[in-house]
């Protein structure tokens, strides 16, 4: 009998025998915490707001300009803290410009850094155009026609880059050795993008209700699109957790599990949908407005909680040697 066979036969009865090497992690987990969670949240909102702005500007012939205006400013506002979060998270913040030293297609972080730099430029241009339109519109002396068509022409640029910024983060997490992030890559990317879409739409809806006496159809369309994104997001989340199987454990247990059940799914997905149904039945315009605003705030909270749950579950998953071994045995 070899030493290995002896070990296995002797440990067969004792289930407390640690896995691998004294139960120590096989891989090193990421150091990412609140700064990165905040970046994922704000970056997602900024990117998808730019998409929303372009869609409203190009396809909405009623409220388009209003929604596009608020979405452009929301995108710009949500973008501003992003570089600060990212730079502060670096071990050597003074070297943040090294992110643009090379472009490496094999690194989602490299592609994302370039994407964010270009998106920042494009969003600033589009915010500037919007400022010019607003200033001219206030004067009412000259036509805003030429600026309007410039904004329409330019709208797809920040929108496409915004999709990159909102979407690369899920790909970035997938391209690691962390079991819960890497096991089902075709679901984590779409989960992050749909979550960013629901958060971005909610942020634009809140901003619209705060700064502009919006026309009812615009609000209804935003709320409808938000519901659509939340529906897609919840379907992908459920599919992802099921597809992960036992690897999903850090997502379902302990504090992360509680956050997922009560805040992400309960407050962030189920409650807004119920409120949306309720608001459609309400005859009072003012109560409808309050209800949709409450739904949007809950969607935002849920979106932030989802980023927290996914990042924290990744850290826990990396520390579990059995999760790594499960993935590297077949």
């Amino acid at each position: 009998m070899t030493s290995i066979e002896r070990r296995e036969s002797s440990s067969a009865g004792a289930s407390s025998e640690p896995v691998g090497y004294y139960g120590l992690p096989v891989i090193h987990g990421p150091h990412w915490k609140w700064l990165i969670i905040c970046y994922f949240f704000f970056g997602g909102i900024s990117g998808t707001s730019a998409v929303l702005s372009a869609i409203a500007r190009l396809f909405d012939h009623q409220d388009g300009p209003h929604i596009a205006r608020v979405a452009t400013y929301t995108s710009m506002g949500a973008l501003l803290p992003c570089p600060i979060f990212l730079i502060l998270d670096l071990g050597r913040p003074g070297r943040f410009l090294n992110m643009l030293r090379v472009l490496r297609p094999s690194s989602p972080m490299s592609v994302g850094s370039w994407g964010l730099a270009l998106f920042g430029t494009a969003t600033s241009v589009s915010a500037l155009l919007q400022v010019l339109i607003d200033v001219k519109a206030r004067g009412r002396t000259s036509s805003v026609g030429s600026l309007d068509s410039a904004a329409r022409l330019f709208a797809p640029v920040p929108a496409l880059l915004g999709l990159l910024v909102a979407g690369y983060t899920g790909v970035l997490l997938s391209a690691t050795a962390v079991p819960i992030w890497s096991k089902r890559p075709w679901l984590l990317g779409p989960l992050f993008l749909t979550s960013a879409t629901s958060s971005g739409t909610a942020a634009v809806a809140i901003a619209l209700s705060l700064v502009e006496r919006a026309d009812e159809p615009g609000e209804v369309r935003l709320s409808r699109f938000e519901s659509l994104a939340v529906t897609a997001e919840s379907a992908i989340l459920v599919g992802w957790v099921f597809a992960l199987g036992a690897t999903a454990e850090p997502m379902l247990s302990g504090r992360v599990g509680a956050v997922l059940r009560y805040i992400v799914v309960g407050a962030g997905m189920a409650a807004p949908q119920l409120i949306a149904i309720k608001s459609q039945q309400s005859a009072n315009r003012r109560s409808r407005l309050l209800l949709t605003r409450a739904a949007s705030i809950l969607t935002l909270i849920g979106g932030f909680a989802l980023r927290y749950a996914v990042v924290q579950a990744g850290r826990d998953s990396a520390d579990d040697p059995l999760a790594t071994f499960d993935m590297t045995r077949c």
Partner: protein, 265 residues
């Protein structure tokens, strides 16, 4: 053979033999001494994994060679397995793929090195390594791992750990030669009844896109006993499916958005 005589095409690496390791930790000491690495988090105090001599616990920012002490208790007493672990200098390296700054590069020796003067401490290489090798050092903020003694290689010397090893458990040389002698060693051991295997041999399969390791290991127990994944995967392989699915979702959301916002009330 001097470094200058070495061909640009030749890849160099380690062959670490668990059956020859006596757990003296000369490799750990030589590595720390040559690379001027401090003790592991002195604030945390002295810590052992088991009942024997493993006080460095894991590969990390300040431990680039780590000797595993696997204690196998049974009715007939305790069996000891020892193995000196190190960065695998993968043929396709997850850390190198992930590095956004170009700090991590492939050297003329085929090894993988983090350039400390470029690394900005983003930390992406840390979870991108399927073996848990690079780690951020909280003292200087950068990511660190074995350089396969790049400076010594440039100077025509063998790496510090291989030079210090008293039993030739750690061998340094051209990867092709090491692969050959590793295979021979494994077949000799298997003839003697030892359940030996060569970890990192591409031809044995299951290196999941990594294609092969620049640090090979002769093991006398399943890899997982030494916390080595049996069939590691290259994280880069996930980019295509994740990116395609995300692009598909993006198209879907844009179409849905256009339809929602163009609808006449």
């Amino acid at each position: 053979m001097t470094t200058s005589a070495r061909s640009q095409e030749t890849h160099y690496g380690f062959l670490t033999d668990a059956t020859l390791c006596i757990g003296c930790k000369a490799c750990e000491v030589a590595c720390k001494q040559w690379n001027q690495l401090p003790a592991d988090s002195p604030s945390e105090g002295f810590h052992l994994t088991g009942f024997s001599f493993d006080n460095t616990v894991d590969l990390g920012a300040t431990t680039w060679r780590h000797v595993h002490f696997v204690e196998q208790t049974s009715n007939s007493g305790v069996a000891w397995l020892m193995l000196s672990d190190v960065c695998k200098h993968c043929v396709h390296a997850g850390c190198l793929d992930a590095c956004p700054t170009g700090a991590i590069l492939r050297t003329e020796f085929g090894t993988v090195v983090i350039q400390d003067n470029i690394c900005n401490g983003c930390g992406y290489c840390v979870p991108a390594c399927p073996f848990g090798v690079p780690q951020l050092d909280h003292a200087d903020g950068g990511s660190h791992k074995c350089t396969l003694c790049y400076d010594r290689l440039r100077g025509g010397l063998a790496p510090a750990c291989a030079t210090a090893c008293p039993t030739a458990s750690i061998r340094f040389g051209p990867l092709e030669e090491l692969l050959q002698s590793g295979r021979e060693r494994v077949s000799t051991l298997q003839e003697q009844g030892v359940p030996a295997s060569l970890y990192g041999d591409e031809n044995l399969g299951g290196t999941g896109g990594i294609r092969g390791l620049g640090a090979l290991f002769v093991l006398n127990a399943p890899p997982e006993c030494f916390n080595l994944p049996a069939r590691p995967r290259l994280p880069r392989r996930n980019i295509l499916p994740a990116a395609l699915a995300t692009v598909g979702m993006a198209i879907g959301l844009c179409v849905a958005g256009a339809l929602t916002f163009s609808a006449d009330e």
